[in-house]
Symmetry: C2
Subunit: 377 residues, 2 copies
């Protein structure tokens, strides 16, 4: 236990260590078994490229040579940020609530992308500051969880954004979503978020965890001008220096700098790993949340896929920190889980080819190895 911790922080750390104890890395033997199957399928060896590695990892996560990713879930965590007081975003925080209503009504980008890949959608209000405009009727395919931990975070240039207790409550919210998903039979989860100001929070977390300067991890978010970006950079720098936590104390980084939706996503990652469900990062903000989870428990990495590479400059830095190669590079920078959702199609194709393809033997197709053996005999 780190000296100087307050009582509530000690409780959070104890409960967190119980969660962590349930996370096991995948067994390399399953990776080997899956790779053997790949080499029997009717295709030149390795010709499906990254799809082959993806399928092997999903097989190892699910511990079967017949893995499935047919129950897909996108979770969009929403929260507001006290840091918007510093005028770091061109949009007012009211937009977070307005966009939550847009998600529930089915009118946002994530609704369209989720439909494309056949994923269900859960919108989790982890701490939206303004009232969500009424939506009726609710779309059948979208579930709503309204459990705001508090009305947005505090301004992290003055105070910790969240207390340890608040951050842990938000984290548990995400953890519980993953556990419920397991009970529902979900086998692939995508991480999404919405929160005006949350790229500022993600930049501060990325700087604190990776040790990168604020300038390297602070971008234009929804599209800010030079003046606003300079202000955002100063804010990130100030926050990181004020709280002075590093990768040795990832939970403290999260509660001092992070948003409620980011803490929710960190908990979602931990919960996915505990429940052996593959989980896909979205853009910069989701990846910063995943980086906290992986720093808390490195075995989480085995369950985590990088959905895409955002144009937000900090994203590449966080993905490098995570050691992950993004599945898509389409210059997207929207968040909401759009990149994670689209990457589900890649993972789906990877798993389907692995499970459904014929072997050289079953299809009566001549294999290269077999031929060279014949030639040598």
């Amino acid at each position: 236990m780190v000296p100087g911790m307050v009582a509530e922080e000690k409780v959070a750390m104890k409960e967190l260590s119980e969660i962590i104890s349930g996370i096991k890395p995948v067994d390399p033997k399953w990776l080997e078994r899956a790779a053997e199957r790949q080499n029997c399928l009717t295709k030149p060896p390795q010709s499906l490229g990254q799809l082959e590695d993806i399928a092997c990892r999903i097989a190892a996560i699910q511990e079967t040579l017949s893995p499935r990713v047919d129950r897909k879930l996108i979770t969009v965590f929403a929260g507001d940020h006290g840091i918007t007081e510093e005028a770091v975003s061109p949009y007012p925080s009211e937009v977070t609530a307005q966009m939550v209503a847009n998600f529930l009504r089915g009118g946002a980008a994530i609704n369209a992308v989720a439909k494309t890949v056949g994923a269900e959608l859960i919108i989790v209000n982890a701490g939206v500051a303004h009232p969500i405009p009424p939506v009726s009727p609710l779309n059948d395919h979208i579930r709503s969880i309204q459990k705001p931990v508090r009305s947005g975070t505090r301004n992290f240039t003055r105070d910790p954004a969240l207390t340890a207790e608040e951050a842990f409550s938000a984290l548990l919210l995400g953890y519980d979503v993953a556990c419920q998903a397991k009970r529902d039979g979900v086998n692939l989860i995508g991480m999404g978020e919405m929160g005006i100001g949350n790229s500022t929070s993600a930049s501060a977390i990325a700087a604190a965890l990776t040790g990168s300067p604020a300038s390297a991890v602070t971008g234009r978010g929804t599209g800010i001008d030079d003046e606003t970006r300079a202000r955002k950079l100063a804010v990130v720098d100030k926050g990181v220096k004020l709280h002075a936590f590093g990768p040795d104390r990832p939970f403290q980084v999260l509660h001092a700098l992070g948003g409620l939706e980011l803490a929710g996503l960190t908990g979602l990652c931990l919960g996915a790993a505990v429940n052996r469900i593959a989980i896909i990062c979205d853009g910069f903000i989701a990846s910063a949340s995943a980086a906290v989870a992986v720093t808390i428990s490195p075995a989480v990495s085995d369950y985590l896929f990088a959905g895409h590479l955002s144009t937000e400059p900090g994203h590449a830095i966080v993905l490098e920190f995570l050691g992950k190669k993004p599945l898509l590079q389409l210059k997207m920078r929207l968040g909401e889980g759009t990149g994670a959702a689209l990457a589900m199609a890649v993972i789906d194709a990877a798993v389907r080819t692995f499970v459904e393809m014929a072997t050289f033997e079953s299809a009566g197709v001549s294999n290269k190895q077999e031929l060279s053996q014949k030639a040598n005999s």
Copy 2:
């Protein structure tokens, strides 16, 4: 008309010019109208990256702000190659026929990927040299067209691979598939191919069209060793020099060096453009076929998307020649249309977001521009 042409070549060129006369570039006004709509949707401007450009182009192709890509078709053209006499592939040409049976039975990679994206599948025998092993029962979702123009091509290091008449017959086969697709309501086509030896043919076409040396466009295909690759490179070089056609005579490049399945795909591209259907390139071989089509009629480019970047070294060169940026980069190198099929998910998401998303006004979400106007007023 080029002097020295034989009579049958003149006939083919005349019929080809009739096809070409039906191809119109997309109207830039539709691109502008679509871009205006993108800016009204509930997302920061340009935040969907390449998806936004894709949707605008599909809108311009279909000349509507409500485009659809809900009828997807993957076409796999199969053919054999006389050049396999030169031992350029580790697999015997029997594998082409065996794989066609595997496609019809539903056991190949393309079957699994087509299912992932909800695409229908047509397998076109444009010139398979060996008997297709019997398949029964035929899978309901897969159609088979058995119209081989001839039993594989000739060895292009000695003779033209095809006569002009044969090449044009194969081209028409593809053209007709696109016209039938239009009648069936198909609104997105993916190009796929199967043919032992066809990466050698594609390398020769790529060298002839782009002027690149054989060494730059000749790769390892299904996975050949150094010795076989050296032989393949010499074969490509010999063929290109023997027939000596360049980008000013693309149809002649195709019939001298190309395969029956490549000619089919060239015709498919021309037919897609005539019928205003968006068409997606697959890997190196499909892209070489598309390069012939675009060189024959540059407006074809407006209808063409690059599905993915293969690890085959010539592919990047052909895509650069085409001026296309690939949608996916997953180190795939299988062909069969697998990369084109997977890219359909990206195009689907692009079109769905464009059509289904709410506008700032309809969703009651505050827009950035509106706010800055308020601030200035």
